[in-house]
């Protein structure tokens, strides 16, 4: 069971990132807890300046863009 967080306060791109992440998790068949963090104080605990951000196991892996499915899959498998 891994923890994935999508950081972003409800903008269109954040929702898109969450959807892509869910899709990748499903296709890989990984057990994951996906949390969408919208609280700014929580978001700023990660070294992020632009949303949406993606956090895998408490490590920020992407910020300010929607990574491709292959990229997300690589982070999840690592």
């Amino acid at each position: 069971m891994i923890t994935i967080k999508v950081l972003g306060s409800g903008c269109a791109n954040c929702k898109k990132l969450e959807a892509v992440t869910r899709k990748v998790v499903e296709s890989l068949g990984i057990e994951a807890d996906i949390v969408h963090v919208t609280e700014m104080a929580e978001i700023m605990k990660y070294p992020i300046l632009s949303t949406p951000g993606l956090v895998v196991e408490e490590k920020l892996v992407s910020a300010g863009r929607i990574p491709g499915e292959a990229e997300i899959a690589a982070w999840l498998k690592a």
């Binding site: 104080a41 605990k45 949303t51």
Partner: protein, 333 residues
């Protein structure tokens, strides 16, 4: 991969060079519309400008996006760290052009900047320059007005961002930032990424796809309206209301532009047609800057970290700076 890129580039050049004769041929030849007739001119204008702007957008946004992979917000923040007012404002405004920015990220960016000790005025210079000197606006101005107007636009955006940021910094308005911002413990360090050229090209490609898919409809509708004006509105019809003589046209353009949130893609073709009919450059630039740079959604987002007084000062100083630029251009050109 590089082979594909070169082929794409050559294809781009070839298509770019045949659209004018093709548009003329369709409008005046195939459709048999008279040269110089209202409809003929409007149709050929539309058929030429739509593919031209879409080609320019994809080509130039690709190059700009490659450049931007070298400037992350994190890098900009560390470049601005320790800079004082003055130099800091100038640098922040210039970095606002090359740093990738989306107004939906204005809040984390604002918190991250002020938390790391960047002065409020310098942060504002960045937050004004980044959306105002927007890549789509610059490319469309280049395509429809030429490089001089595009250059003037960039220069004015820089001046406005430096001026407004300096004023906000001098006014010492830190107490009008919401208190939680100062108490927040923001993490620093940023995302450590090592990008290869393949990564950069791939990301630039994604950005082009994203921007073109979001703006193409605005381009088509904007140019259609512009083409109608081009073909049907008589020359100099707008000189009396949007020309240099009408002193009130600059503030009116700003007042109209602020609530009108549209993207540059839809507004610039219309504005370009208006200019042909006698609207003056200063008025037109003031209008575009207030549409693009002072947008309502961004202001609403910033309200989460700024108290109403500071929001008012922010809008007021930027609007004032835009008007000064508008009058200046009307006076000089």
């Amino acid at each position: 991969m590089y082979g594909v890129l070169i082929l794409l580039g050559l294809g781009w050049l070839a298509v770019y060079n045949i659209i004018q004769p093709l548009a003329d041929w369709i409008a005046y030849g195939a459709l048999n519309l008279g040269r110089g007739s209202h409809l003929g001119d409007a149709v050929s204008f539309f058929l030429y400008d739509v593919p031209k702007i879409l080609l320019l957008l994809s080509g130039m946004i690709f190059l700009i996006s490659i450049l931007r992979t070298f400037f992350s917000p994190d890098r900009t923040r560390s470049l601005l760290g320790g800079k004082r007012q003055g130099i800091g404002n100038v640098l922040a405004a210039m970095l606002g052009i090359v740093t990738p920015f989306c107004s939906c990220s204005a809040v984390p960016l604002f918190i991250g900047f002020v938390e790391s000790g960047i002065p409020l005025g310098v942060t504002f210079s960045f937050l004004i320059a980044a959306p105002t000197i927007n890549e789509v606006a610059v490319v469309m101005l280049f395509g429809l007005f030429g490089w001089k107007v595009a250059g003037l636009y960039i220069l004015s955006g820089l001046i406005i961002a430096i001026l407004a940021g300096t004023i906000i910094g001098r006014l010492k308005l830190e107490r009008y930032v919401e208190d939680f911002v100062w108490k927040m413990q923001a993490a620093t360090g940023g995302l450590q990424e090592k990008l290869t050229w393949a990564n950069r090209i791939q990301r630039a490609g994604e950005t082009v796809k994203d921007i073109v898919s979001k703006t193409w409809l605005y381009v088509v509708v904007g140019i259609a309206v512009g083409a109608g004006i081009h073909g049907y509105v008589p020359e100099a019809a707008l000189a009396s209301i949007m020309g240099k003589q009408a002193w009130w046209s600059v503030p009116a353009a700003v007042l109209l532009g602020v609530p009108l949130y549209s993207n540059a893609a839809g507004v610039i073709p219309i504005v370009s047609a208006l200019m042909e009919k006698g609207a003056s450059l200063g008025t037109v630039l003031a209008f575009m800057m207030s549409v693009v740079g002072l947008s309502l959604p961004e202001t609403i987002i910033l309200r989460r970290v700024l108290k109403p007084q500071l929001i008012a000062v922010f809008i007021g100083t930027v609007a004032l700076a835009i008007m000064i630029i508008g009058y200046l251009f009307n006076l000089v050109l």
